[in-house]
């Protein structure tokens, strides 16, 4: 893990609402794993705290993240230009690949909204002996990003793209039509969506690995601010930034 000041290589609009920001870092490119995140200081003074972003892709020494503008930090980030620098700290958190091996046929990726972020990088490095099916859900079509994904099924709340409904409805619908064999779920998105999808997966006796999101002050285990209640472990709480962000959903209380 390192703190680095890195130059922005490019900015691209993936949709009208989603931006892909690419920067250069030899170090990060050489060590980061799918599912890990980086913590960005978007500006010198304001906001105070870093903002966590999943690694969306790594290509050579180019690392990219995707985001949409929802508040102060992402607004500042969206104003950066090619050639500006950003202050990053990472890679943080555990990675999806640790949970990729095992006895199952199809890996089911479910991304809700900007929760799609870790999946392209994961797709790229996923064990090639597994099939992958991807489900994306979002409020509307401008929040749908399919770049770098395989076998994508789309749902939107307003029906502007793909299936009209929630991503869980889409999954259920699709599972009726196809036989994916033994499955394992890898999910990321709003907690409510993850809770619902995890229940579905666990009910089918599939393991479900979720990348969780909480407010974070440090992202590296210093502040103990990112706790989540565990399900009957030895400790009452786990730290999302350090012990996660990826947890098997039966081990934590999603709420």
């Amino acid at each position: 893990m390192r703190q680095e000041i890195v130059p922005i290589h490019s900015f691209e609009c993936l949709t009208n609402e989603i931006l892909e920001l690419t920067f250069t870092s030899d170090y990060l490119a050489s060590v980061a794993k799918p599912g890990q995140f980086i913590n960005i200081r978007v500006d010198n003074n304001f906001p105070l705290l870093r903002r966590p972003f999943s690694i969306f892709n790594i290509d050579g020494n180019k690392i990219s993240i995707v985001f949409n503008v929802i508040g102060t930090g992402t607004r500042v980030l969206a104003k950066k230009r090619k050639g500006d620098t950003i202050d990053i700290l990472g890679p943080c958190g555990n990675d999806f690949l640790t949970f990729a091996n095992g006895e199952y046929d199809t890996a089911i990726f479910v991304g809700g909204g900007i929760g799609v972020a870790p999946f392209p990088f994961l797709t790229k490095h996923f064990p090639s002996d597994k099939k992958i099916t991807t489900y994306l859900g979002a409020r509307h079509k401008e929040l749908i990003v399919t770049k770098g994904l395989k076998n994508v099924n789309i749902s939107t709340d307003d029906g502007s793209d793909g299936f009209h409904g929630t991503v869980l409805d889409l999954v259920k619908d699709d599972f009726k039509k196809h036989d994916y064999g033994k499955t394992r779920f890898f999910i990321c998105g709003p907690t409510r969506m993850m809770k619902a999808v995890a229940e579905f997966a666990n009910n089918r006796n599939s393991d479900c690995y979720a990348s969780l999101e909480t407010d974070m002050a440090c992202g590296i285990g210093l502040c103990q601010g990112c706790n989540i209640e565990t399900n009957g472990g030895t400790k009452k709480y786990a730290l999302v930034c350090k012990e996660g962000t990826i947890f098997e959903t039966r081990t934590v209380k999603l709420q």
Partner: protein, 313 residues
Amino acid sequence: MIESFKLKNVEFKNRVLVASGTFGYGDEVSDLVDIGKLGGIVTKSLSMKPRDGNPNPRITETASGMLNSIGLANIGVEKFISDKIPVLRKHNTIIIANIAASSIEEYCSVLEMLEPLSGVHGFEINVSCPNVKEGGLSFGTDVKLVGRITKELRRRTQKPLIIKLTPNVTHISEFARVCESEGADAVSVINTLIGMSVNINARKPKIATTTGGLSGPAIKPIALAKVYETRNAVKIPVIGIGGICSWEDAVEFFIVGASMVQIGTANFVNPSTGITVAEGIKQYCQKNDIDDVGKIIGTLQTNKTISIIDSWL
């Protein structure tokens, strides 16, 4: 150029420490930060029994600050002794054990367990804890209790004893005075300020415990004023804490009278803040031909022509 500072029998290689609760036990970031360059580490508050801490959410950002209510989640003093001290010993820096408790007896017992250990160089006492006997009112707002805690702990330790004061009182200097007279070696000023923040959509507090502790640059002006008040009331050293992010911030604290400083929230943003602050102070002194950082302490020049009675806000 003298950077070091001696408190009782302990020599800090420089005057910059990392604050309790903001640097773990020093083992989280040893790959990111060269800990040997810090003046010292104040540990997360330790209680007798391990504490799970408060439910989530525990933190939220505010304008130039943050609120936290971690609930003093910690591994407990026994596990600290068995698991952490061996690691801490390897760092070439001073280790101050911060103690939290819900009764005077608990403060004493935790300190007594740590006193014989050479891996612990001194104590900082967090009195911003609820006094169970008094229904949860904070020890730190009762000047008599702070005096008793100091007295009891002083009898039990030969090591530096630092009382960490809460700013949530009318006259912090009263508290510093009682610490001084009961034998404390220093006071740390300040712990967090009580604050809150509301999610207006859910109509719920943004942290589970409703109120939490405010820290970060937002509180720096308040912390400076409290350090200044304290420094004018006591002769024992004052350790300045609150919103320090840069060496310039630290020098402000020195000028108003802090003998050492601690870095808290800034560690979350830049874990190596303590080191950049220490290096910045050194360069500042070299540039200005100051041969001892101590010579900056308490050098504030105030406007003597303004009397208190005239100084209405």
